[in-house]
Amino acid sequence: MLKIIIPTIMLMPLTWLSKKNMIWINTTTYSLLISLISLSLLNQPSNNSLNFSLMFFSDPLSAPLLVLTTWLLPLMLMASQHHLSKEPLIRKKLYITMLTMLQTFLIMTFTATELISFYILFEATLVPTLIIITRWGNQTERLNAGLYFLFYTLMGSLPLLVALISIQNLTGSLNFLLIQYWNQALPDSWSNIFLWLACMMAFMVKMPLYGLHLWLPKAHVEAPIAGSMVLAAILLKLGGYGMLRITTMLNPQTSFMAYPFLMLSLWGMIMTSSICLRQTDLKSLIAYSSVSHMALVIVAVLIQTPWSYMGATALMIAHGLTSSMLFCLANSNYERTHSRTMILARGLQTLLPLMAAWWLLASLTNLALPPSINLIGELFVVMSSFSWSNITIILMGTNITITALYSLYMLITTQRGKYTHHINSIKPSFTRENALMALHMTPLLLLSLNPKIILGFTY
């Protein structure tokens, strides 16, 4: 694992010591190389985990998320080049340093063995993200957005610290590998109910759960492109990953404690999908669609069946790539028209046909078109929730329909129709942008050929 972490840390001296015309080239190339190293982790020989040391391990659940994280850093750097081009050199280097710090913390979070170390790094990822959102966002609302983002997550995760420390006192170790084998049923008492709540709330806020999702549209909309990409693709999955890890310790309370959250997720996914149909702001639409997809993951994790865990992991990876790609596409619009309003930039297919092809692919994967991994994730979650209770099929079916509706609405509003008269002088698509979309789409399409690597540890 150090072969990934140390190069990522060393990306920071690389940015500070590079020459002015080489910073982007150096950082993007080296981060691509680091992502190629992490691909070797996908070779998981058995259902047990690969233990690299006492501190780091990799598991069929964390390996795909790790590969996604390392794959996303070069993409974030490529996406940020344009909006940072006018900034002074020191600020560019600071931005890349923030991204690299965030990357290091994320890699260590996904591979942490000790749950307290996971918690510390989980909190540590908040700091660079907050700096990126509040310093480099574009509107004045970014301050409010950063506040909401920071305090929602902190309030949710403070009980988790208390819970983890109390579990450490009770069991003597929070090493995740040990806890899997030690596991006993939690006795039925009020304090264990609060323990369940304390453990889960941090991840519920991060996912986000429907009632606690207020930070997400603000943070996603106000963040610059790299911030939006990393938020949508990885930071939400931290919540899912944490939930998947911590539910192993929380039986049997999960069978009755999960109901309120299941109801919030099941109803919330329909509500947020419906809100997407009425959005005027493009990034806000994609942000609400993230909430809707993550609600499916919450349902899957709380049901706790093998199929639903497979669906949850597949959906996390698929949604990471799709959502990040949609934010990149929205950003390519924003850089040209300096406005996020959807109806302001219509009919782009006539002007930028290749970008329209990427929009089409991204919208099709967002609505879970077969045979993409989005469909595999959603289908597994729908099937397992059907077996949990037959009536969920009504809600799930409605959600899939509304998802298709708003994805197509977004596609048709931005691409089809007569173009608005003031965008006939936009710059054509850069090769960098096309490469960015291709690098998002290629893993997504390749994974549909071999999805078993992302199906997690219950495959």
Binding site: E141, M263, W267, T280, D281, S339, T341, S389, I391
Partner: protein
């Protein structure tokens, strides 16, 4: 040559030049029309000046559009007030369904689990 009388229809309104009421309008209405025309042409002149300005890079800002997007996205909560209608909507679509679905799923799940545990339904791999 006498043309047939032009009748307005649903999709084609009567043009002002064929409307007999156009020709005996009071001076006040005429003045109001002239004022509105002055405002329109001032706005159009400002727009055309910005549109054809050779040193312009980027969009001509439309303040109405900015106000509309601000009102649609960021200005909703400061103008929210709990009224009977909004409270009813909130309870009906926000809180009510949660309890409704809770009871639906709880009953269904209890039935399913009692069937399973009483071995009336064969559940693959499960043992009571």
């Amino acid at each position: 040559m006498s043309f047939p009388k032009y009748e307005p229809s649903r999709l084609a309104s009567l043009p002002t030049t064929l409307d007999p009421a156009e020709y005996d309008i009071s001076p006040e209405t005429r003045k109001a029309q002239a004022e509105r025309l002055a405002i329109r042409s001032r706005l159009k002149r400002e727009y055309l000046l910005q549109y054809n300005d050779p040193s312009r890079r980027g969009l001509v800002e439309d303040p109405a559009l900015l106000r509309w997007t601000y009102a649609r996205s960021a200005n909703i909560y400061p103008n929210f007030r709990p009224t009977p209608k909004t409270s009813l909507l909130g309870a009906l679509f926000g809180i009510g369904p949660l309890f409704f679905w809770y009871y639906v799923f709880k009953t269904d799940r209890e039935n399913q689990l009692t069937k399973v545990w009483c071995s009336l339904v064969l559940w693959e791999g499960g043992q009571p």
